[in-house]
């Protein structure tokens, strides 16, 4: 784009760019030094602000580490495996919250990935352009709805629906499985998983669609020329983009893990570990939302900050991994 202070020699000489062979080879980079004071000041000023963006992640990690040292030192790894949560006696273990976060996110992922792939395939391979744009805009609008509104809708529409209609039917027909046993509360893992499904759908869809679109048309032409149907072609495109789709799923998982308000409002907020999806549970983000403002004592606060640090570590890892995967896939196809 606009990097006029480092002009490749072949471009400066008016020669071929990336599309053709360079006229002058090997390419020599000519650095045009600026001596203008304003230029130096402006460049370094914008650099400083970019440095802030760069360092924010590290600052956040460091501050949370300092804030949670007390419980990290006292409980060590057992913080992750114990299921006591007793602020009065200063005993803390995050297992029920971790379990709730993992289970609700997994429900969401299992439901959202196939659905998103269907949408992405439809948008990128099957739909005509005039219908693709408004439809993808509508799917993206789902991501724009604030979490609190999802929560409100969850409490007053989704949860009663689950309690009255869905859960009784599920327990009657699939009650032999441990997941669908127990009293239908409405509030619980199933509600949390379903609401997360809707919430992570847009991000998985839009990233997979971008991945599918980055696959060169020659793949499609090859399949069609061999007599493949449109579906068979779409399937080939899907399998060529599978690692990018893995990245999209990881990004969706990251969203689901950190989602707070909607989950807090429908998950039931009870720190139990139960195999049944009907039972109320708790999640890492929800316990922060419910207890942080009224934390009693420094240990309680430290334990909560440690949960925040865990959430941070998990989401940063998932996002970093997913970005690297998606980048490498789209870049590979951009080159071919």
């Amino acid at each position: 784009m606009s990097h006029l202070d480092t002009i490749p020699a072949e471009v400066a000489a008016g020669g071929g760019s990336a599309s053709g062979p360079p006229l002058l080879s090997p390419p020599v980079r000519v650095r045009v030094r600026t001596r203008n004071l304003g230029d130096i000041v402006f460049r370094n000023l914008t650099f400083l602000f970019a440095l802030v963006v760069f360092s924010l992640v590290f600052i956040m990690a460091y501050e949370m580490y300092l804030g949670s040292r007390e419980t990290i030192q006292k409980f060590g790894f057992s913080f992750l495996t114990r299921s006591v949560w007793d602020p009065v006696r200063d005993e803390f273990g995050a297992l029920p919250f971790i379990y709730g976060t993992v289970l609700s996110s997994m429900i969401a992922l299992v439901l959202a990935v196939p659905l998103s792939l269907g949408i992405a395939l439809f948008l990128s391979e099957m739909a005509p352009r005039w219908i693709e744009r408004p439809l993808s805009f509508l799917v993206e609008l789902l991501a724009a709805i604030p979490s609190i509104v999802y929560g409100l809708w969850g409490i007053f529409v989704l949860v009663p629906w689950l309690r009255m209609q869905v859960e009784p039917v599920l327990s009657r027909s699939l009650g032999f499985l441990p997941f669908f046993r127990g009293a239908p509360y409405g509030f619980g893992m199933l509600a949390a998983g379903l609401i997360l499904t809707i919430m992570i759908l847009p991000i998985i869809t839009s990233i997979s669609r971008d991945v599918l679109k980055s696959i060169p048309d020659s793949y499609r032409e090859a399949s069609l020329a061999l007599g493949g149907t449109r579906w068979e072609t779409a399937w080939i495109i899907l399998t060529s983009g599978r690692s990018g789709i893995l990245g999209a799923a990881l990004l969706g998982l990251g969203r689901a893990v950190g989602e707070t308000m909607a989950v807090t409002m429908v998950i039931g907020n009870r720190a139990d570990i139960s195999a049944s999806l009907f039972d109320p549970g708790y999640s890492m983000a929800s316990v922060l939302a419910n207890e942080f403002a009224e934390a009693i004592g420094s240990m309680h606060q430290s334990a909560l900050i440690e949960i925040a640090l865990l959430l941070f570590a998990v989401t940063v890892t998932l996002n970093a991994l997913a970005r690297v995967i998606v980048w490498s896939v789209t870049r590979r196809f951009a080159r071919t």
């Binding site: 269907g118 604030p146 509104v149 942080f292």
Partner: protein, 283 residues
């Protein structure tokens, strides 16, 4: 064609039709909740929206009527404070990335800005608590503003970069050919050209921040009374919805829906605006 070939051919055609239908069903299944949520919020909320709702304070339990004037003003103040932190950082680093960022450091900034956008907003709230609430020994609008500011940064950085990159290089070359220094070319020629896009990108970042609840719960906290002091806890639309949704009172719940409706309409409008400005050039 022999019968076996014909059978395979028919089967492939059936599969083609079936899969196309399934993909279409997926789309409908995804768009369905959007309309469900929007129209349900509209139906529940519209009844409680009137002049009083915007201009009056919340009434004590038992009295009907009242509004959310303090929450509306609170959200505006919080967004203002957030923009104070988020806008300069977001826009300036966006300029850096677009104009000077084609190097390893630029890539690292892009990467970390993307990672930042994936960090749960409640974690950002915890950080704002550690950085602002603990030293000041009080929940405050300022802490909420810091949290929202951090949350705005990734959106604003990346859209600013995209929008500046859309300005053709010939504009920059024209400026430089006239002997104008690089920075002046950027400030006087490139930025004004990209202004419309940057503005809507900023609006998008602000709209997202306005819809955040989790990072405000233990920074701005919420306030049932009128307050505009930045060192005091302050009300906000989203925390207002949260508190009222959990209440057992019929008319409070209706007000929560009304507030949700206000929020959703604002956010949809900004999204549509962003879409129409960037149409055909971006995305």
């Amino acid at each position: 064609m022999n019968p076996r070939e014909l059978r395979t051919y028919r089967w492939r055609k059936v599969k083609e039709k079936a899969m196309g239908t399934i993909a279409l069903l997926c789309v409908l299944l995804a768009v369905f909740p959007l309309f469900l949520i929007f129209f349900y919020t509209l139906a529940q909320g519209i009844g409680a929206i009137n002049i009083d709702f915007f201009l009056q304070m919340p009434k004590p339990v038992g009295e009907s009527g009242g509004g959310m004037a303090n929450a509306l003003v609170g959200t505006i103040i919080l967004i203002g404070l957030g923009s104070l932190f988020g806008l300069p950082i977001g826009i300036m680093s966006g300029i850096y990335l677009a104009e000077y960022g084609n190097n390893p450091f630029g890539n690292a900034v892009r990467f970390f800005s993307d990672v930042l956008s994936g960090i749960p907003s409640i974690v950002v709230g915890v950080v704002a608590y550690i950085l602002v609430v603990i030293p000041m020994k009080s929940f405050s609008a300022l802490a909420g503003g810091v949290a929202l500011g951090i949350l705005m940064i990734p959106t604003i950085t990346r859209t600013t970069e995209e929008m500046i990159r859309l300005v053709p290089d010939s504009f920059r070359e024209a400026g430089l050919a006239l002997g104008i220094p690089r920075w002046k070319t950027i400030v006087r020629i490139v930025l004004p050209t990209a202004l419309k896009g940057i503005t809507t990108g900023v609006l998008l970042g602000i709209a997202r921040a306005a819809g955040e609840t989790a990072p405000l719960l233990f920074t701005a906290l919420g306030n049932r009374f009128w307050s505009t002091a930045i060192k005091e806890p302050i009300a906000s639309l989203t925390v207002f919805i949260y508190d009222y949704a959990k209440s057992p009172f019929e008319d409070w719940i209706q007000q929560a829906w009304a507030a949700a409706l206000v929020l959703i309409v604002l956010i949809f409008l900004v999204n549509i605006l962003f879409r129409s400005v960037t149409r055909g050039r971006y995305g």
